[in-house]
């Protein structure tokens, strides 16, 4: 696999534990925005995170392929698959560990979407280069949506 992926642009949306309510709505919103830009999305997460997404968009207006997180990590580790972008949804230490793992295995541009009650602490633990969107948002998705709207044009045109 080359250092930089070529061909039509695609993005991995790496979901964390769905215990923070806004994750599902913001992931669907971002998937829709990416789709409008002609960027194919693949969503990965554990069973609960994936089920939240699939139940919220049963006719798949916004989402495309949805895969198990262990399978996704295996495909990246074994260089069977790669992406132009990886948007990681992070609200805890485990989410950060998954994002760092993808960063270590893939040349995809990393965008960390950090939210939740402890967003500052989590953002302060980032030890690898990535674009960071960090907002205190737990139940109300609007602050995070606004931040994504602000940086999205720059992300898709510069990364």
């Amino acid at each position: 696999m080359p250092d930089t992926k070529t061909g039509p642009r695609d993005a991995l949306l790496l979901l964390g534990c769905p215990q923070v309510p806004i994750q599902t709505s913001v992931a669907l919103y971002l998937a829709g925005k990416l789709r409008k830009q002609g960027i194919t999305t693949v969503i990965t997460g554990n069973r609960a995170a994936r089920t939240n997404i699939e139940v919220a968009d049963p006719d798949r207006h916004y989402i495309g392929e949805v895969i198990d997180i262990d399978r996704c990590i295996a495909q990246l580790a074994e260089k069977k698959r790669d992406f132009h972008y990886c948007f990681s949804f992070i609200h805890n230490d485990a989410g950060l560990s998954y994002a760092a793992t993808v960063k270590a295995m893939s040349p995809a541009a990393q965008i960390l979407i950090i939210f939740g009650d402890h967003y500052e602490e989590v953002a302060g633990s980032v030890e690898f280069p990535a674009e960071i969107i960090a907002v205190k948002a737990v139940h109300n998705p609007m602050p995070l949506k606004a931040k994504i709207d602000e940086v999205f044009p720059w992300v898709v045109s510069n990364l």
């Binding site: 990590i73 580790a77 230490d93 485990a94 560990s97 793992t101 270590a104 633990s125």
Partner: protein, 92 residues
């Protein structure tokens, strides 16, 4: 070698962080090894923030294990063959 969940293992630390796991391994297990995230062991690709460490202690293998909803665990898996294999890799 079977899947980790089906193997005998002991939890050394639970609901911890990648930094605490890293520090615990470095402080408590002289025979530790740095591996890349995604390193495959016990049919699982390890999740973690570099530098990521695993260790051997006698016949046991010590690894961090992360799940999205449960955080990071540090676990001890008795596996003499894997312990020997890791020691052999380190000598190379």
């Amino acid at each position: 070698m079977g899947c980790l969940e089906s193997m005998k293992h002991e939890i050394i630390m639970r609901d911890t962080t990648f930094k605490e796991c890293r520090q615990y391994i470095l402080s408590n297990f002289p025979e530790h090894f740095e591996v890349l995230p995604g390193y495959k062991i016990f049919e699982k690709h390890l999740i973690g923030v570099p530098p990521l460490y695993i260790a051997v202690d006698g016949d046991d293998v010590i690894i961090p294990y992360t799940k999205p909803c449960y955080g990071t665990f540090l676990i001890r898996v008795p596996d003499p063959e894997m312990a020997a294999e890791l020691r052999k890799k380190k000598q190379k």
